[in-house]
Symmetry: C2
């Protein structure tokens, strides 16, 4: 949580000149542009880069990296700036490479259910493009993030319980390495046993091993039937038990989201809904008409056993959109509860058998603090989030939220969980990696050193060298 | 395809003494044991190790590796010896570490749908153990391979079209590194964004980056309904087109296997079946009763459009077992067609839209050769195999099969496919990696050097240094 760089040297004037020669107007050193690129949606102190390069092609990214490598200057990839652990902060200065203008959809293979896009294409842009094909890309972290950024942070979100995360849905990547060489990590075949899994090595590497410039993704047929509902429960434990039984019985639910009472209160106001203020599950089912009906019957039975009788169905596509938009806006809704507050958000993920215990203990801990907070989660994966609404001008609040976060992570680790299910490490969770991985961290360090010996790729993130 | 080692020094007597001290009777230098451990099920010339160490625990594996590391002596992990590209051959001598006695099922978490096993546990052993839990582990490469070996070779097989490969089904690993340190690659949570994906780095690394001693696997509920059938088609193209339409329409078929007429003839004799001698698909459907019925209706409609009317249903569990056992024995059935022949088997995988073209051109190429061959495949993934029945005493036959293999791989690569969908690289397909990965191979090399600087882990495999 500290942004004080170990060393920060001014950008070499010759490097700046060469970059200007390469990019012209697309190299910016304006204070506003720099500030925007050093900041994500997290509470971590932002740190602006010295310059921002707006790239138009893989070749340009490679040229920028080559120049920066010559000067041993940091490069930090930037997509939409929606990361949550300070991933884009230029802790050691350097050049932010903005990939948002690399937004061409290069190829859609309807027959193979895949698409290749430039890193700056966002998930919504891709899905709009796919509209007439009958296909869609399911991974949905809430924000309309770039697919390059989603790959780099191993994003997941509401649909992951059914369709997996970016880990399962990236087929191949084009990547610029630390010395400017360009590689492709894999072929377009669905499976391969030909060599080390470079694709998965870059998925979730947060710009510290290379800069992702193209992504080949799996697509899925739009289901014949989709059905969504919300259901309130007497207690948060009842809601979680219903989730556990649903997952254990193998129902292929597409989404199963938990919101605590505080969060429901917030979204009722923010999104103008009239949900009962109680711990609530949001569900979505995908399949054939009869398949969805079967799934619903099973889930209703489990819910009923735990006092969840009040299923409210979002029957039209508009109602469904409204429900899920409200879920996506949960973070902003929570913040709006306390005007002027900043969100300190965190996530953990545990084996589903430990979820009830983990959520329950966390809620008890939160209840003892004066910091307002709300709990939401992709609970089908055992993954949940807490947002603390802190007054940014009161360091004691930030410190207190930090302590609550710390206890939540240690609790998850003690239950064989992970310090982050989907937000990533950035520079916010580096210390927890030691507790989580132990000796394995030395392996991550060895890989980082082998692939980026001068430590110019997003330095100060993920792995402490 | 050459087994001539670059250097092969005799095992240091002091190392042998220390290993004997550690393992007693479980360290063998007998010619028979050594020969058995240098040989897999492939046509590649075997190469016996200098000694075989039968390990009983991760700590023992670590101790063996530490001793071998001190003497810069190669270590080659060994499971059941069922690999197909010479993975276990001791090309530079050294110590084979046999993990088959590490066969304890350490933990089954029914609620979390996962299990942790020692590397020597085989897939059938695990499934027998799971019998009363209502769960199963689906990955089925045919052979009753060890789960450590299946992980190390990124195995897949008939069920992968529905359940994925080992890539998707390993949650975490315990691994002994090149210097004897022991790491765990991940927690038991279903997803994580905490650091580089070490699990996937070791899945498919063929013993060249570390020795896998424990595997945590995903399990699945045994489906309520299972239905299997075979169906003959007028031509191999008709069969393949039916596969493509099935996959593209999103039917969650559990298995969809292609066997050419030569293969059907072979298994009719070998497995005493009476299938029509024609290009044939074997299907299996998993789901609820109504779900399976829906899936079957869709597939029957696609098949009918391509002359596939003759569905023969395996209605009892015994009939189903017989059908799939016959499929698994296809390799042995093919070999039995030519007494004294050895099998030269290979596999490729292409995007499904190119599958018909790739199979068709391959069949034409095979038809022009005098070497008998049979084609089978996990075609739902775009993956197919050819087995050449060669006379091992006629080098010209092996050379001719090698040329056919070479053309098949180049054809698959030209269609954006991979040189191996599931058999792996071993020392049989190293040259193809260059054509497949280009510059990315240098990255694999850098990773290998970073993790195994003295090149003692299964040297001479996967990546040429």
């Amino acid at each position: 949580m500290t942004a004080s760089p170990l060393r920060r040297e001014p950008l070499d004037g010759r490097l700046l000149e060469k970059l200007k020669e390469l990019l012209g107007e697309r190299l910016s050193t304006s204070a506003a542009v720099r500030a925007q690129h050093g900041r994500d949606e997290s509470y971590h102190p932002p740190e602006p880069p010295d310059a921002v390069a707006f790239a138009h092609s893989t070749e340009e990214v490679a040229a920028i990296v080559r120049l920066c490598a010559e000067h041993k200057t940091p490069v930090i990839p930037f997509g939409t700036g929606t990361s949550l652990e300070g991933h884009v902060a230029a802790l050691f200065g350097g050049v932010s490479i903005d990939l948002s203008q690399m937004n061409r959809i290069l190829r859609v293979n309807v027959g193979d259910l895949d698409a290749t896009v430039e890193a700056g294409v966002t998930r919504k842009q891709l899905n709009e493009h796919l509209r007439d094909t009958g296909l869609f890309f399911p991974i949905d972290p809430g924000a309309d993030a770039s697919l390059g950024g989603m790959t780099a942070t191993r994003a997941s979100g509401t649909n992951a319980v059914r369709y997996g995360t970016m880990r399962e849905n990236v087929l191949a990547l084009k990547v610029v390495l630390a010395d400017g060489r360009v590689i492709t990590t894999a072929r377009r075949a669905r499976k391969s046993a030909a060599g080390y899994d470079l694709t998965r090595l870059f998925v979730g590497s947060e710009g510290t091993l290379g800069i992702i410039t193209e992504v080949t993704l799996r697509l899925y047929g739009i289901p014949e039937a989709t059905s969504a509902a919300s259901c309130a429960f007497p207690t948060i434990e009842d809601a979680v038990e219903t989730v556990i039984l649903t997952i254990q019985s193998g129902v292929p639910v597409a989404r199963i989201e938990l919101l605590d009472a505080a969060q429901i209160e917030a979204i009722n106001k923010y999104s103008k809904l009239e949900l009962r203020v109680a711990p609530t599950l949001f569900f979505e089912f995908h399949g054939t008409e009869t398949g969805v009906e079967e799934d619903i019957e099973i889930v209703k039975a489990w819910a009923a056993e735990h006092g969840g009788e009040d299923f409210r169905w979002a029957t039209t596509p508009e109602d469904r959109s409204r429900l899920w938009q409200a879920r996506h806006d949960a973070y902003y809704a929570a913040l709006a509860q306390r005007p002027g507050a900043k969100g300190l958000t965190t996530d953990v993920c545990v084996p589903i058998s430990r979820l009830a215990e983990c959520v329950s203990e966390t809620k008890q801990d939160l209840a003892q603090s004066k910091i307002p907070s709300a709990l939401v989660g992709h609970v089908g994966d055992g993954n949940f989030h807490v947002v603390f609404m802190v007054d940014p001008n009161r360091p004691e609040e930030i410190a207190e939220a930090g302590r609550l976060n710390d206890r939540m992570v240690r609790r998850a680790l003690a239950m064989e969980g992970t310090c982050t299910g989907e937000h990533g490490v950035g520079y916010g969770k580096m210390d927890f990696l030691v507790a989580e991985h132990g000796e394995a961290l030395s392996l991550m360090r060895a890989i980082k050193k082998a692939l980026d010996p001068d430590n110019i790729l997003n330095p100060g993130k993920m792995v402490r060298l």
